[in-house]
Subunit: 143 residues, 2 copies
């Protein structure tokens, strides 16, 4: 089971990370991505297509076609990606699964959870692709 993001969303994050490491403007094919990241081909294809539709990536068909970031990497935050794939429900829903989530009618761990949820949210909003790429260029990083 996935932790907090869906499988799709995990793959999206991985793929965008990978694209962030490529020289600006270079198109990367699905084949290369699936090979490097070990992601099922058509599942990834669909995800990239969604991200393209949402204007986070651009695509090009034909020889030497592929995908690239649509915007300057410091304008794309993790939240943009997560929101495009999973939506932003996690930021509003009750962690215990109750139908509503608010301080007016909270569950027994609402207050603690709301605090952590805000931290997660602000990390997603703050962290952008440029910073991710910077981290990933350190020698110990995995891509």
């Amino acid at each position: 089971m996935s932790i907090i993001f869906s499988r799709q969303c995990e793959y999206a994050l991985q793929a965008v990370s990978y694209l962030a490491l490529q020289p600006a403007g270079k198109k990367t094919s699905i084949r290369e991505l699936t090979k490097k990241l070990k992601i099922p081909y058509h599942f990834l294809a669909k995800i990239l297509q969604d991200l393209t539709y949402k204007k986070l990536l651009v695509s090009q068909k034909g020889p030497s076609g592929g995908f690239a970031l649509a915007q300057s990497p410091d304008q794309i935050t993790l939240f943009h990606i997560v929101e495009a794939i999973d939506g932003s429900d996690f930021a509003h829903k009750c962690v215990m699964g109750f139908p509503e989530c608010s301080g007016k009618n909270p569950c027994s761990i609402h207050h603690q959870w709301a605090k952590m949820r805000d931290e997660i949210y602000s990390m997603l909003v703050t962290e952008n692709i440029t910073e991710m790429a910077r981290e990933m260029k350190k020698p110990e990083y995995r891509l």
Copy 2:
């Protein structure tokens, strides 16, 4: 989609919360729980059975039977419940879905995530049923 715990686990947390509000030793039937919590009968039955097997609850068949906490409520933490149903993978797996998670070969948000994950973990370990019940007795609470 569920946030971080599976549906089963959410239901488990809800049910145990409810049991925590009952007088010590009182048996509560599945019927009462499903009615109050709007949870499918046999799904909850299976979950409670699992929690019983894991020694978190006790069960009794027959008229006026039902379920009750197996231990003193201040010895049951949220983590016990989560671990029994979902396991403790969330505490070790990569949030971006990479096969390993460690500082030696981290993903681009490992460091930030690891920090939040630890907070969540320590909340789960710290928060026990007694405290949950205390929160829930406040007038604005939902059960």
